[in-house]
């Protein structure tokens, strides 16, 4: 299997090429749509099957040798600098590959139903396949540069897919916003890579010479090399730069602002890219490079702080949203905060555990919300919903399962993973962090209860549309994911620690012993979750008559401006708007945005002209078409050069 590992990313690539090269030309719209969907699903499905076979094979290997590595070819080789294109399939990659292809397949199938009759459906499926390719490249890369290539690639696909309905201003704006914000993170990544290369001379993950191994060697023995920064300073620098990349891609404070806006894309895209896979790339990156992070306690505390703060802000923002998808988006931000916090506390296996369970149940929730939106004829405002339980029974059931899983209620998937994170915080004696995470988990339960109440219970508040259940193409992926959300916790039960043990060759973590404190914590946490969820559900069912389109939330009465602050996600976006975007809008960010503006070219020219006004005006003044001017400029250059030589030599 190791020799044919490359087939896993190749299959979606073939799907992409087939769609772009062949299907696109088909003149029969119905057949085109059908073929595009089947090809895309088949490609990802087969990739999943292959990944599963590879996984089994990996599991058969002795524990220490669980590691498949193929170098396909040397990509760049200039003596001192060599970058192989190599694929790595180790325990950590394997679970990510399974998540990406598994959830990916279900979302592809769901998309066939969801994107029915969309006019650009071939393009949609092609980009979706391309995204899978890039994501696989990201998680299977055997060096940081290749990972970065995938990292950029998923960013590009995310941009293209958010902007799928580019006629809508919100969609194209959101796409640009995501792109621009992610560039800030990418700059951090690039700098981190350069620093790593400058100091370790390699970007590889694999083997004795990899920078991870080198970092591991110096762990515990901080050596000061004369004339070099101390290692601890170096690793702190690298970790913080990597963290910048993570905050961009994984929507952490302070760069999370693009994720809620990214909901303007099609809902399956939100499920695949902005919940289950791409946004978790940052967590994966931290797990992969954990031996660097471990060397720097400072960086770890910063990571933990960022994660915890993001979890809280995301959680508070989610309770005050009206848009069904924005609730989930902020919830994703918050849950990603959990993962990052876990990684910051050194519990990488726990972070990956939560990443996997979250990938399943959040994909489920997004797809189910897509089903709601589909059934409610593109209504997204929860104030206009209500009582949809009757019209969409299946969607209601799976939504409830997803919500219970997210809320962390025993015995669904979210309970096990979230509880581990809480236990880690408690076990490390970080009471403050524990408290915030605990409050956040109550918030999580509360907003899920609120959402269920608003969407599915009561009476339909806006009767201008007739809601209907979605077709089987959309519901059966939901059921499969629902099963996953129920039993997902089994992959890392306490005491057994299957996943932690599986990841041990990479992450070198032992499963925590199970003791009474953990049990009590679990009981308290699930109790609190049940209570909050029930509270949210009851409160909004009870106050259903107060909820009308364009009216404030009933809780606004008690919280006032604080509620507004929640709704606007603590005004982070507005702060940027005010202090960075607006002053720079006419210059830098302005023309970034306007390039992609549907009106396009005029704005672009104006925006650019302002930025490079002086220079461009100078260029244009001189470039007047007269040969005599050209000769004059020529002569000026001659005089300058000769003058320089005469004076300097």
């Amino acid at each position: 299997m190791a020799n044919v590992l490359w087939l896993i990313p190749l299959l979606p690539l073939l799907g992409f090429l087939l769609n772009v090269l062949v299907v696109w030309r088909d003149s029969d719209a119905a057949r085109r749509e059908r073929n595009a969907g089947y090809i895309a699903c088949g490609a990802v499905g087969l990739a999943f099957v292959l990944a599963f076979i590879a996984f089994i094979e990996l599991a058969m290997l002795p524990h220490e040798e669980q590691h498949m590595h193929v170098v396909l070819w040397e990509w760049i080789n200039t003596g001192s600098f060599s970058v192989p294109i190599g694929l790595l399939f180790d325990p950590l990659s394997s679970v990510m590959v399974l998540l990406v292809t598994g959830v990916g397949t279900l979302i592809h199938v769901y998309s066939i139903g969801y994107m029915h009759n969309d006019e650009r459906v071939v393009r949609y499926f092609a980009y979706l396949n391309l995204f899978i390719v890039m994501m696989l490249m990201l998680v299977m890369a055997d060096n940081l540069l290749l990972l970065f290539l995938g990292w950029e690639g998923v960013g590009l696909c995310s941009f293209l897919l958010i902007g799928h309905w580019f006629e809508r201003k919100t969609a194209s704006d959101a796409a640009v916003k995501a792109f621009v914000v992610n560039r800030i993170g990418d700059a951090g990544m690039l700098l981190a890579m350069m620093t790593i290369f400058a100091h370790f001379g390699t970007l590889s993950f694999v083997g004795e010479e990899s920078f991870l191994e080198r970092a591991r060697e110096i762990a515990g023995q901080y050596v000061t090399i004369p004339g070099q920064p101390t290692w601890i300073l170096l690793t702190t620098g690298i970790s913080l730069l990597l963290l910048v990349g993570v905050t961009g891609k994984s929507a952490q404070l302070p760069l999370f602002v693009w994720l809620p806006d990214a909901m303007a894309g099609p809902t399956p895209v939100s499920a695949l890219i902005h919940a289950a896979t791409m946004v978790t790339a940052g967590v994966y990156l931290m797990a992969r490079t954990h031996s660097i992070f471990t060397l720097s306690p400072t960086a770890q505390s910063v990571v933990t702080f960022v994660g915890v703060a993001t979890a809280l802000i995301g959680g508070t923002a989610a309770i005050a949203q009206w848009d069904i998808k924005r609730v989930l988006a902020y919830s994703t931000v918050s849950q990603l905060g959990y993962m990052v916090a876990a990684a910051g506390m050194g519990a990488y296996a726990v972070a990956i555990f939560h990443l996997l369970t979250h990938g399943i149940f959040k994909a489920l929730l997004f797809l189910a919300s897509g089903s709601v939106i589909h059934g409610a004829h593109d209504v997204q405002d929860m104030r206009r919903m209500g009582g949809l339980r009757k019209a969409m029974p299946t969607t209601f059931r799976v939504y409830a399962i997803g919500a219970i899983a997210l809320a962390g209620i025993f015995p669904l998937a979210g309970f096990w993973s979230k509880d581990e994170i809480l236990a880690t915080a408690w076990g490390k004696g970080q009471i403050g962090i524990f408290a915030i995470l605990f409050i956040t988990s109550m918030l999580t339960a509360f907003y899920m209860g609120r959402q269920i109440a608003l969407v599915f219970f009561g009476e339909q508040r806006d009767s201008s549309y007739h809601a209907h259940e979605s077709g089987p193409m959309m519901t059966w992926p939901l059921w499969i994911l629902a099963v996953g959300a129920v039993i997902g916790g089994a992959m890392n039960l306490p005491v057994l620690h299957t996943l932690t043990h599986w990841l041990e060759p990479v992450l070198e973590e032992e499963g925590k012993a199970f003791d009474l404190t953990t049990l009590i914590l679990a009981l308290v946490a699930t109790g609190a979750a049940v209570g909050s969820a029930y509270g949210g559900l009851r409160y909004y069912m009870h106050n259903a008559h107060r909820i009308k389109p364009n009216r404030q939330d009933p809780l606004y009465r008690y919280f006032g401006d604080i509620w507004n602050m929640f709704e606007e996600a603590w005004y982070v976006d507005q702060t940027y708007e005010r202090y960075t975007v607006v002053p720079w809008y006419r210059s830098l960010a302005g023309f970034l945005g306007e390039i992609f503006d549907p009106q396009g070219i005029d704005g672009m020219v104006h925006g650019v002209a302002r930025l490079v006004q002086g220079a461009a005006a100078g260029v244009r003044l001189v470039q007047n078409g007269y040969v005599r001017t050209y000769a004059l400029v020529f002569l000026t250059g001659v005089i300058a050069i000769i003058g320089y030589l005469v004076i300097a030599w």
Partner: protein, 491 residues
């Protein structure tokens, strides 16, 4: 009868003999046998001539010899460049086959002229003597003046040719004057002799002996003339006008071929003759490169005419490609060769797409032509997007690696500030390349453009796009060759 042939190795100039011979023969064949209106046959014959020139390089492979008292050499560097030049010329001819009749400017002379120009490229790559280099430059210039004005009744074409001629003559004057000064100082025009002179001067140098001032000034004048050909700021002023006015295949041809050939000759001059005085000219060339990158890319941002945009972009790329020379290292020259290949394939591909969209009598080359191309001609749009990404230097295209190698070489030579300027300007460059991509995929068609997709041009675009990707993924296919070329240069 016993003919006393002097000891001259004619094999060294075999490629030159073949290409000029076929150009001359083609001129006559076209004159007597090819009927008007069927000049495509001349084009096919020209392709055959190029093929023979390529084949002529095969027996020379691995050779490293000079001939004609050291005026001409053949080595892997020259042969590698020859391959690139032949590819450039072949693509140019193929994309012209349908373009010329469509524009109503089909004349049989076009193809021999391309061969003559390509021959002058080969000459420039092979000569190690200032006079011969001048000959190459002049031959190149004169053919290009004619080719620029080839779209004869169109005013902009004539204007472009006139401007090019006037400024070209101006620059040629500097070249000759430079050679004269160098000769005055060193009493030779042979590059190896100049180096000898300089090393002797250095070893015998005392405070009483003045430095080689005349040679430096002469060298600077030669450098200026080259800068004109390569279009380095501030000697680039003709570029946007000429590139816009010239028939599109000619623009494509000169944007890549001239740069490659002139830089090849410049590399010979600086690596063979002037390495000992590099402290004097490296800063000059570095500043020129920096100015070129800035002006080229900033200028391109404001353009709405795609052809003119590509003209500015080609100025910018001249800056990047010169970085490889400025680095003055083995890696630098490898980087130059790779960049030249990547840029040639990409730029020719991009111009081929423009040619497909260009209609007779309509020379707007407006961005509007690209609006919604993604819906009407998805394959064409994907190829164009690929070319734009490669020009912008986005991985995993060949253009990305070209930039990477060039920057890495400059960085190694301690030119960090140049690399910084390069990175910033390529960031600026992304915007105007992306603009075309956005136009193609995220806009509705503005007006009806009937793409003239013939089989030959379609295949050319496909092959160019494939090659751009291939070299993006597997640069080693070419890097090995480049490394051997550098060894041949003694670098």
């Amino acid at each position: 009868m016993n003919i006393a042939f002097p000891d001259i190795n004619m094999l060294v100039i075999l490629p030159l003999i073949v290409i000029f011979g076929s150009a001359l023969a083609l001129l006559l064949i076209d004159l007597f046998f090819i009927p008007a209106g069927n000049k495509k046959i001349t084009g096919y014959l020209a392709l055959a001539g190029l093929l023979f020139t390529g084949l002529a390089g095969v027996p020379l492979w691995g050779m490293e010899e000079s001939s004609f008292s050291g005026m001409v050499v053949v080595d892997t560097f020259a042969l590698t460049l020859n391959v690139i030049f032949i590819i450039i010329a072949a693509i140019t001819i193929i994309i012209s086959l349908d373009y010329l009749p469509r524009q109503g400017i089909e004349q049989g002379e076009f193809y021999p002229l391309i061969l003559f120009a390509t021959g002058s490229f080969v000459l420039l790559a092979q000569s190690t003597n200032l006079i011969l280099i001048f000959l190459g430059i002049e031959l190149l210039s004169i053919t290009l003046y004619v080719l620029t004005g080839f779209a004869y009744p169109r005013l902009s074409s004539e204007e472009a040719a006139m401007k090019y001629l006037l400024l070209g003559a101006f620059a040629a004057g500097f070249f000759v004057y430079g050679i004269a000064l160098i000769y005055g100082e060193t009493m030779t025009v042979d590059l190896n002799q100049i180096r000898l002179y300089l090393t002797e001067l250095e070893s015998s140098s005392t405070a009483a002996v003045p430095g080689p001032t005349l040679l430096l000034i002469g060298g600077a004048l030669v450098l200026i003339a080259f800068s004109f050909k390569i279009a380095l700021v501030p000697f680039h002023m003709w570029t946007p006008d000429v590139y816009e006015g010239a028939p599109t295949p000619v623009t494509a041809f000169m944007s890549v071929g001239t740069k490659g050939a002139a830089l090849a000759a410049l590399i010979r001059i600086v690596t063979i003759a002037l390495p000992t005085v590099q402290d004097a000219w490296v800063p000059v060339l570095a500043v020129l490169a920096a100015a070129t990158m800035i002006v080229g890319n900033v200028g391109a941002v404001a353009q709405t005419n795609v052809k003119r945009m590509l003209a500015y972009s080609s100025v910018g790329h001249a800056g990047y490609i010169v970085l490889g020379v400025v680095a003055m290292s083995a890696h630098g020259i490898e980087a130059f060769l790779f960049y030249l290949l990547a840029y040639s394939l990409t730029n020719l591909g991009a111009f081929a797409v423009i040619i497909v969209l260009e209609q007779r009598g309509e020379s707007a080359w407006s961005l509007d032509d690209f609006s919604g191309l993604g819906q009407r001609q998805p394959m064409l749009a994907v190829a164009m997007a690929l070319f734009m990404l490669s020009l912008a230097g986005v991985p995993p295209t060949a253009g990305y690696l070209g930039k990477f190698f060039v920057f890495a070489a400059a960085w190694e030579s301690g030119l960090g500030w140049l690399v910084l300027i390069g990175v910033i300007t390529s960031a600026i460059a992304i915007f105007f390349y992306l603009r075309i991509i956005v136009r193609m995929f995220m806009h509705e068609p503005v007006r009806d453009v009937q793409p003239a997709l013939h089989r030959s041009i379609t295949w050319t675009i496909a092959v160019a796009a494939g090659a751009v990707l291939l070299f993006g993924f597997m640069p080693n296919l070419f890097i090995d060759l480049a490394q051997r070329s550098v060894i041949a240069l003694g670098g």
